[in-house]
Symmetry: D2
Subunit: 303 residues, 4 copies
């Protein structure tokens, strides 16, 4: 399939939506991004790259990092990981404390903030140099050394991240995290501060489209594990808009408030989009639309 | 693929679980079913039938009927239907009133009871003889006249269905249903009382595996609509165990407290299972396991 | 104390507030009341009557009736009544289903609608002719035969009372009411439809100010029971504005959406006010203000 | 009234309950207290002292301190204080985050933990040396210099107080506290660590029984303010058991998880009890019982 032609069409189709949404105001650094940016990069099952727009610019991947940390923790713990986080969609905003209180401190899934903190806690317990080792894992996935934490973003999140500090302390009060609250938060804020391009994201998520293997044939997950995390991205990847994304796009994926989205067509392709302006659920307006057009135009979806 | 061999293996694999779970006690009629029953029927994309066990015995399809009613209402209203029900997983039990109160009477999705009542309300407004016309629609899908409401089950649900009566009145108080509460409940209890076999279910859901067409090439939904309802079954078909089903089985589907489950592998097959004993979330123990073995054994899932 | 002079002052003090609030739109009959009405009647511990404004006009007492039904049910069951309803403030609107779901069908207190329905259920089980007997009880308290149900108000509530029907069915689903849902609702809608004047209310509540005895020395409750129901009115009598009323007025009391309020100064007086326009919590604007002025001006409150 | 004789009777009446309840396990220091302790001290409106049991032993006053901090903050802000905390009972445990989320960060009342933190924040903003000045305020109320923070209790709460840290960060995320989270928590943990005897508590709360004046005629609050805080203790002083306390005891009061309770009979007396074992709601078993016997025996309650 010639995705380049489709990207041209998508670009046209996005025009009515370019002024919709707004940039995340959660931390000052994110607010400084040029709101007109848009990029898309697709890597198909033959290893071909298709790119459009600002697909080679770095942006803050934020919650997309939760899939990396989950994959690595899954390598350590296997199915036992589900004793510490669930696999059910939450039906609530990503940072709600309500559900956590009713469910006695076990986060619904690893993609809400509370769940990602439990995953961070697992990594801290299992890695010798947590932040370094995690960074190296992502670099291996993306097949490049040119990936870094943005320290000022991480610091900024620490300064204003009272909701996340509330969540981490709340988890700690239930015994759901084992390490020090501050250490867990520091790791979490760093993982979210990772900066990558659409191209790097599409490459680093390729193993989800390739039965667990990177483009360079490094095995990350078993075929069965790959299938399972794809299912999890499908049901929980877009906060309380996961149903909408499944309905409109029909692919597993994960979004971040930096405006990035990654989506997977198992055995076919991985695709990353970037558009900084978000809808009220915290997902990229242009990214959602672009992926909807992509699956409609190609008539390829998992459903 | 020779599904018959796989069914033999599944039968072996289910042995450790045959005493797990218990039959729904929600209405007396359901409780009288033989708990040892198990059946499975698969219809593949070449029109081949594969059957095992008690696959030709009628059972109460209960909530599986919600997919039929949604399909028919979708024919009438198209995308406008989502102004009256949402597409997000609920994260709560199927008959919770809490979420409905916080969300001002708009049900999260058409598969929780409240959502199915709104769909019933739409059908009542659009059909000349609602119960008859709906029955005929299901008969057309299943390509057989031998499908009936079980009046004593419907009556029994009316007698003990106080939670459902609460939901219907609650919806009415928000203006979410337009017809009389009693008429909506009567329709709803009838649709749930439909009795079908695994074979009939597999055939009547075949259009979800066949881009919207029945085996007899009758068009029920467009290709796009089919994809969308598949996505909805994926994210919302198993109450607050939808994530678990996606994780373990990886197929869209829908369960009922009569012990039936239907699952779809788009473009590949539709498959129905029946095992009356339920887990604590209200889903058939043997059905869930059987489908998990099926996708593991065949290494075919949408993810 | 010369309450007549105080009433004159109160009348002046209310002037800035006469246009605040609005009449309940919950049922059409209530909406037809003249919004400018205001009346107050106080009966002191020497049996003196003090009246002002429209204190001799009948109005719909609505939820104020819940205190009568509780008193009568308390006569039958004594302390055992608290096995079926609680004594804690709810912190939620009077007709919320959420709390009821989390607390498994036991209403928080007898003054929220769900609690009043459980009390109605108790009366139906204990009275030979529930509606007649209850009416006679209220007539005895008020020392007049001229008290009646308003059948058209009761009928109107039945027609539009879907939220109440939801509550009653919900209670029934938990086994919290024993009689038929329709019978409980019929009783409940009738008790709320009672019409009384401020004078009749002040007289019929006099036993709460008089250690359990009516003005005519009929014993209704023991001294200890009287004290306890006063405490209950204090903590739960004004829905989710009970704290505000305690804070501003400092007397036990009960309000109704017909615009009536009854308040008790134990061993001193009972006082009833009526002003049809309600604040957003469903309590009479002028009644709340009048009672605040009364306790401020007299420097008499229980605190 | 000869309270000494009544105390003897109460001591007898408590015998069946001495083995009920258990000591708070929230912090290790509290768990080391002798569980058999019981003391009571009453100061009447003529300035007479009545004491019984371990009424001169120091214990951790914990949440009782919230009334001191509220009184002091009320001096600074007057009625404007209610723009930052509410006056409604919460209907939830004292440390719930759920309600706070639904109500956008404004605590229900100043006696739940979140509310007390907002009050602490107000004091920090208004006092030059917050911890010292607050301590001096309490010493003035109690008319003794012999009152101290227990630093090891304060430290211990900091070490294990993850739920409180979650609350404080949550409040900060809503902008409900203005000072640094750590400073607010440090103040809060210190105020809770105050150690006092029953006698000191009865004396330091005397202004609530004496129209705003201490025994030494120092004016703390106006008569109107006194009445209002009494009302607040009545409706909110015992967490989600406030209704039960009002029902059984009928006096305004406040409890702490150190096993202390203070209660006020306006214009009559202040009374403090101490018994370390708590019921499941976190209130002293013997203290609740003792006060119930006191008001029953004396036939004096505000109702």
């Amino acid at each position: 399939m010639n995705y380049n032609q489709i990207f041209e069409k998508i670009d046209d189709a996005l025009k009515p939506f370019v002024s919709d949404g707004k940039i995340s105001a959660s931390i000052p650094e994110l607010a400084m991004v040029d709101p007109t940016k848009f990029g898309i990069h697709l890597l198909d099952n033959r290893g071909n790259d298709y790119a459009f727009g600002n697909s080679d610019e770095k942006f803050s991947i934020q919650s997309i990092s939760k899939v990396f940390s989950l994959s690595l923790a899954f390598q350590f713990m296997g199915e036992q990981i589900w004793q510490r986080v669930g696999v059910e969609p939450s039906g609530n905003p990503f940072n709600s404390l309500v559900q956590l209180e009713y469910e006695k401190g076990k986060p619904r899934n690893p993609f809400i903030n509370a769940g990602a903190m439990v995953i961070a806690d697992i990594l801290i317990s299992n890695l010798e140099n947590p932040k370094e080792d995690f960074l190296n894992f992502v670099r291996k996935l993306a097949h490049t050394e040119n990936i870094h934490y943005n320290e000022s973003v991480a610091l900024s999140e620490k300064k204003v991240g009272f909701r996340n500090a509330a969540l981490a302390n709340f988890l700690k009060s239930f015994g759901s995290i084992y390490n020090e609250v501050d250490i867990v938060l520091d790791f979490y804020f760093h993982q979210c501060s990772l900066e990558m391009t659409c191209k790097e994201l599409a490459h680093s998520f390729y193993y989800f489209a390739n039965e667990g293997f990177t483009k360079e044939r490094i095995k990350i997950l078993t075929q069965s594990q790959t299938k399972r995390l794809n299912a999890l991205m499908q049901t929980c990847g877009f906060y309380d808009e996961s149903g909408e994304f499944a309905y409109k796009v029909g692919l597993p994926g994960k979004s971040g408030i930096g405006g990035g989205i990654i989506a997977i067509h198992p055995k076919n392709y991985s695709v990353a989009t970037w558009g900084p302006k978000l809808n009220e659920k915290g997902n990229s307006v242009l990214g959602m639309k672009a992926l909807e057009f992509l699956t409609t135009e190609t008539q390829m979806s998992i459903f």
